[in-house]
């Protein structure tokens, strides 16, 4: 199974990287015998071992010639686009400030998820954005990001 194989290899890579980082941790005189790197190293070894098990399992099943149907990559692309909108929010909000960004964000996500363009989505995102803004900044008094642009 491609899935399990990929997952196993990713696990191995993560385990190796994590072990390496754990080994690099500064040694402090305040540490106990277990040390800051004690548990992380155990975890890395465990993850490595478990990943190997997954890989072995996958190879075995492959030998029995079972092939899982793979879904299209287009699907993943569509999810990646949604994630991209999230990242765009993250970048823009520090620049435009919370209120304009959240309105744009709601509009963009709604359109991306399949709403027909028009006045309706614009109005809904404007009202919704203001509502969120009011809830967080006025009601809960939380300093939401202010833009640097204005």
């Amino acid at each position: 199974m491609i899935k399990d194989l990929g997952c196993g290899v990713a696990g191995l890579a993560l385990a190796a990287a994590y072990y390496f980082l754990a080994d690099e941790l500064p040694r402090s005189l305040l540490a106990d015998p277990t040390g800051a790197d004690g548990l992380p190293k155990v975890l890395a070894v465990m993850l490595g071992g478990l990943s190997l098990l997954v890989i072995i399992g996958a190879l075995r099943r492959r030998a029995s010639a079972y092939q899982a149907p793979e879904e299209g990559w287009l699907k993943h692309l569509r999810s990646a686009g949604m994630l991209g909108l999230g990242v765009a929010y993250l970048v823009l909000v520090g620049w435009l400030g919370y209120l304009p960004t959240i309105v744009l964000f709601i509009l963009a996500v709604a359109l991306y998820a399949g709403t027909r363009p028009g006045w309706r989505p614009v109005a809904i995102s404007a009202v919704g954005g203001v509502l969120l803004w009011f809830t967080f900044t006025r009601l809960f008094n939380i300093p939401m990001p202010a833009g640097t642009l204005f």
Binding site: L25, A36, L47, L50, G86, I102, S125
Partner: protein, 497 residues
Amino acid sequence: MDEIAIAWKALTTTWAIPAAFGGVIWGIFGGALPGISPSIAMALLLPFTYGLDPVTSVVLLGSVYVGAEYGGSIPAILIRTPGTNASAATTIDGYEMNKRGQAGLALGISLSAGFVGGLFGLMMLVLMTEWLARVALLFTPPAYFALGVLGCSVVAGLSGGSVVKGWIAGVLGFMVATIGTDPVSGVPRFTFGSPDLLGGIRPILIMVGLFAVSEILIQVREPPWDKADARDTRLRFPDLKLWKRLALPQAIGGVVGTIEGLTPGGGGTIAAFLAYNESKRWSKYPEEFGHGSPEGVAAPESANNVVTATALIPLLSLGIPGSNSAAILLGGLLIHGLSPGPLLFERNPDVAYGLYAGLFVANIAMFLIGLVILTPCIWLVNRPKPYLLAFIFALVVSGVFSIDQSLVDVGLVLLAGVVGYFMRWAEIPFLPMVLGVVLGYMVESNFRRSLQLSNGELMVFLEDPVSLGLLLCAAALVTYSLMRERRNKKAETGVTP
């Protein structure tokens, strides 16, 4: 009987009753917003309590706590977004019930389980404080470690399909928990020089990312809703038959919630997960867990509402705030020049008993308000899918920011969402990972503290009676589930390949 008279007087001569209702409304609202934790919701009201009389202000704060712990379950069930840490366990079966068109029933179960749990916790608080305070003192570092191990002992049971993948998820959770300041030496671990990671990654970020963001990413590529069952757009309560079935998880939630409320650092989250696990273990229908079991909603919701009362036990008996929320309540007492602990009962009995009575009113208020708001809530999430996705996503990025006013957290949630997406693709279960994130720090720090105290003697875990008991419990439970699994497998052989 004097106490009841004092409590009655405290309730009727102050604004305590309106405060209880107001506090619960505020709490439910805050708890339902991901990122506004019970303690933040309480803290935001703290400045307003300066001008109130002491009884009203402690009742207000206590009621916010009650409301918020309950409120977290609403988005957990309706939009797969745990509003609070403690409601993450509810997400699993609550959202599955919702997907099967049983949103109204799931909300009814969580409301009634929370209500019963809250009253049970209050009973423990009122009647057993003194005795339970002694139990709290039994928890030494080895005992905490053992408690964490008991929690972890269920990873295998939570894994669904592949046990190996379940363990992988658990290890990943522990890895996340190691990020931040080392609990003993204080060196920063895996922080990559970022001060934002020094305090560690909050479990809520992982939960919201894994559950909510990954769901958003997946939903956007699916065609519009297979419309939820139109019949169940109203709040529904369990019938008698279901009540009988829910009695056991409710009781498990009560016991677990009482113990977790006592132990500083334990709190509602661990209680909810332990209750979920134990209910699964003792259930007649364990196979339904993860696929919309009503027991999987009742147990965690019972447990985390029990904690709203029992978390006050260390505060009122020993003067020790056992949780962030209790610390805020402590702040509220201090502002009025009151000191918590046993002296409160001697010097200001009106405040102490007024708080008890106020919490009672708050639980009733929670139930009544739930009756009113839940049906509109169901209506709200039955909107066209693009808008629903847009508002959930907007709520997530806004709410997560509000925890620490940190955009790094928003980035982390997106990252956790990607990890969740990948895990779903690779068919790795979430739950063991969440459990690892929640328990990892507690297990590691107390393991190391115990060894510090015993000069490296591992025997310390067997010498401490509480630790020994809990470890034996864990061992027995693991053996029991292994045997049961084997039996089930034998029974299933031949039926499914």
